[in-house]
């Protein structure tokens, strides 16, 4: 029982902590997933804004250059224009027939022009750029709105950027052409003019510098790091104060659209890891607190329980000690009363009052023995030491033995006991416990039902079950008391002037003993008197 109590306390401590742990962890996972999603959306939004900024820069550059474009286009004007615009690397002009007019056909070119002609050959050979300019449907500025993802929290700048795309232009007057050459991306801005098409190839380094200058100033925000990669996969620029742990992949990777296609923005967020860590710490802390609190309560309960147990053990030990101390004088009373009766057997005539006195002394010593045994059994039961010692016994012999011990008292009170004993087969039961139960039932008849003048005891064996019914013709047990007669220390009447003594533990012990036998002791309904049925499970 003590062990069970400890286990129960342990379970009461650990199960809630475990459950809280499981639920908390699941909630945490859910929260983290939600946070991650929100974070992803936020980062996407920010990256889209950066892209918009870059496109804006690109577009500004285009507008600026196109505004300054000389008109009408001539070889000389273009040459001047190229010299005055550092953001330009080379120029290309195709006339309305698709013939290259600039750089003008010549026998010898400067190295850079030769290179340009080489790399731009696909554009001018066969008037390809003119065809592109005439058939292009694409808007020169690419807004994020054209991308597959859309955002509820879209800023005004997005709307603006997206507006040109929303208005269908039959064929834009200018556009971008990008291509790879060598190991870098070339950007060429084209513009339809009266006499053909002009292509402005941008200085790659200058363009990068302009674009980097347009990137937002992230300061030293140490919860993030953003990297801009060019088409070669080289980091063009990075900003933010977050130190990326070894092997960490970006929180979000964002590919830019044309004309900056194949450029990429990677966002590394430190906030997410910190949040997760903080949440885990919070959950762990909560669980630890819960464990401590429940553990504290359990420890307190355990200590109280142990104290209670110690007290009850002390009480039980005291009762035990006293009961055993009582047994020595009781042995002497009984021994000497019997020795005296034996001695006087031959000397005194059979109706001599001394014989009767000795008989009463003897009976009372027997009664005292029963009471002490009851108290001891009760004490043993309280210490959970009540154990059966089953051995083969004939139930009817036990019944007769008990009846014999009650015979003198019953005779004196005029109680006639009739029997119907049919349990004459050997059964493995605890004879002492069975005797104790019967003694308690018969004591009750002696104490409470003497005026009924009769009692019936019947026994039978069905299979392994022994059933003994004891009924008397006394006043019976009031209905209100019927539910309590098996309670410890319960007595139907506590009035001292009733003249009936008892401790109120007899039936309680009797039932305990019966239940230890996998049986029971029950009060059966009866028209008059009390009727108890004892059933015991034994082995044949």
């Amino acid at each position: 029982m003590h062990h069970k109590f400890k286990l129960a306390l342990l379970a009461l401590t650990l199960i809630p902590v475990l459950l809280a742990g499981i639920f908390g962890y699941q909630m945490l996972l859910g929260m983290q997933a939600r946070n991650q999603q929100q974070l992803d959306e936020l980062i996407s939004f920010r990256l889209a804004a950066i892209e918009t900024g870059l496109n804006q820069t690109l577009d500004d550059t285009a507008q600026r250059l196109l505004a300054a474009l000389p008109a009408p286009i001539s070889e000389a004007a273009l040459q001047d224009f190229a010299r005055s615009r550092p953001e330009l690397s080379q120029l290309l002009w195709l006339d309305t027939d698709g013939q290259r007019r600039y750089p003008p056909p010549a026998a010898n070119y400067r190295n850079d022009v030769t290179d340009f002609l080489k790399r731009s050959e696909p554009l001018w050979l066969g008037g390809e750029l003119l065809r592109i300019a005439n058939t292009s449907k694409e808007s020169p500025v690419l807004a994020p709105a054209q991308r597959s993802r859309s955002y509820d929290t879209r800023g005004a700048s997005f709307e603006d950027a997206a507006a040109p795309a929303a208005t269908p232009a039959p064929s834009p007057a200018y556009g971008w052409y990008t291509w790879f050459w060598g190991n870098s991306m070339r950007h060429l801005l084209w513009q339809r003019v009266d006499n053909g098409v002009v292509g402005l190839e941008l200085n790659a380094e200058r363009l990068k510098a302009d674009l980097i200058a347009a990137l937002p100033d992230a300061g030293d925000a140490d919860d993030r790091l953003v990297r801009l990669y060019d088409s070669r996969g080289d980091v063009l620029y990075e900003w933010g104060g977050y130190t990326i742990p070894e092997g960490r992949s970006p929180t979000l990777s964002y590919s830019l659209a044309a004309p900056l296609a194949s450029w990429r923005l990677d966002w590394y967020s430190g906030a997410q890891a910190q949040t997760a860590l903080a949440q885990n710490l919070l959950l762990s802390g909560f669980l630890l607190m819960l464990l401590l609190a429940l553990g504290g309560i359990s420890a307190f309960l355990l200590r109280e329980h142990q104290r209670e147990r110690r007290l009850s053990e002390q009480r039980v030990n005291f009762v035990n000690q006293v009961s055993h101390e009582l047994k020595t004088p009781l042995t002497n009373v009984r021994l000497y009363a019997e020795l005296s009766a034996d001695q006087l057997e031959a000397e005194l005539e059979s109706d001599h009052p001394v014989r009767k006195f000795l008989k009463i002394i003897n009976e009372e010593s027997l009664r005292l023995t029963r009471l002490i045994n009851n108290v001891l059994n009760y004490a043993r039961d309280q210490r959970e030491q009540l154990q059966l010692q089953p051995r083969p016994a004939v139930p009817d012999d036990i019944i007769r033995g008990v009846l014999d011990s009650f015979r003198p008292a019953f005779e004196r009170q005029g109680i006639i006991v009739s029997t119907d004993l049919q349990a004459s087969r050997e059964l493995r039961i605890d004879p002492d416990a069975t005797e104790q139960i019967l003694v308690n039932l018969l004591s009750n008849i002696e104490k409470y039902a003497a005026n009924g003048k009769s009692a019936v005891i019947s026994s039978r064996i069905d299979g392994d079950t022994l059933t003994i019914v004891v009924e008397d013709a006394g006043p019976g047990i009031p209905k209100a008391a019927a539910g309590h007669v098996f309670d410890d220390f319960y007595r139907v009447t506590d009035r001292i002037d009733e003249g009936v003594s008892g401790t109120g533990i007899g039936l309680s012990i009797a039932r305990q003993l019966a239940r230890l036998h996998s049986g029971d002791l029950r009060l059966l309904p009866s028209a008059s008197g009390a009727r108890f049925e004892l059933s015991l499970r034994g082995a044949s």
Binding site: T328, L330, L335, L339, Q343, A346, Q387
Partner: protein
């Protein structure tokens, strides 16, 4: 038969001695375990009654010591605690029986007789010879401490057997009170003048068909008792 009684309560010890003496045993008592053990070796009793809780050496230890030198002598434990009895049963001390306090005369007598029967029957002489004898329609088996008449069995004490043996051996002759007393009680015993008559009276109730008109033990007034075959 010599019975050693080890019991620390003087009154219980004296009561048991009285009881055993009246049964025809030769009892000697002692109050603690150590003297019980020395008395056992010195006196060589045929039966030992051992209280468990005693000053000094307790009953378990005394029994263990006895068993080291003697595996045969019957030992009966006496205790007020059923837990102690459980231990006796569990310890395999070689105890023959136990008696719970508070005990009644009949219980003690029944247990001691049962143990005595086993002892008598286990003696080498007993197995070799059957010392049963008859007195009229009564058949007496001394080794069983029993007499039989027809289907009924009568339980007898050692002393009863001695009295009947003496009378039967001198069948037809008058056995004087002093003679009978000396054989059944021993010369050292100084009983009251009525002890013998009382005992005969009780014995008649057991073995005679009609105790008021005895057939087996007849009184020869002024001389003693006689058995007429």
């Amino acid at each position: 038969m010599k019975v050693l009684i080890a019991e620390d309560d003087a009154n219980i010890r004296a009561g048991l001695e009285t009881l055993l003496a009246s049964e025809g045993y030769e009892p000697r008592g002692c109050a603690d375990g150590d003297s019980a053990l020395s008395l056992f070796h010195e006196w060589q009793p045929d039966l030992v009654l051992l209280d468990i809780m005693m000053p000094g050496m307790d009953g378990y230890s005394v029994c263990r010591s006895i068993r080291k030198t003697d595996e045969q002598v019957p030992v009966i434990f006496i205790s007020a605690k059923s837990e102690e009895i459980d231990r006796v049963l569990g310890l395999e001390l070689g105890a023959d029986d136990f008696i719970m306090k508070p005990f009644g005369l009949r219980e003690v007598i029944a247990r001691i007789r049962a143990v005595t029967r086993r002892t008598l029957q286990a003696r080498p002489a007993a197995t070799a010879t059957d010392n049963s004898f008859s007195m009229r329609d009564l058949s007496i088996s001394p080794n069983e401490l029993r007499a039989r008449r027809g289907d009924s069995t009568i339980e007898l004490s050692l002393r009863d057997i001695k009295i009947l043996q003496t009378l039967q051996a001198r069948a037809g002759e008058v056995v004087s009170r002093d003679e009978l007393f000396n054989t059944a009680w021993g010369r050292d015993y100084l009983p009251s003048s009525r002890t013998l008559d009382q005992h005969i009276s009780k014995l008649r109730k057991l073995i005679e068909r009609d105790a008021g008109n005895p057939e087996i033990i007849q009184t020869v007034h002024g001389a003693g008792y006689r058995f007429d075959p």
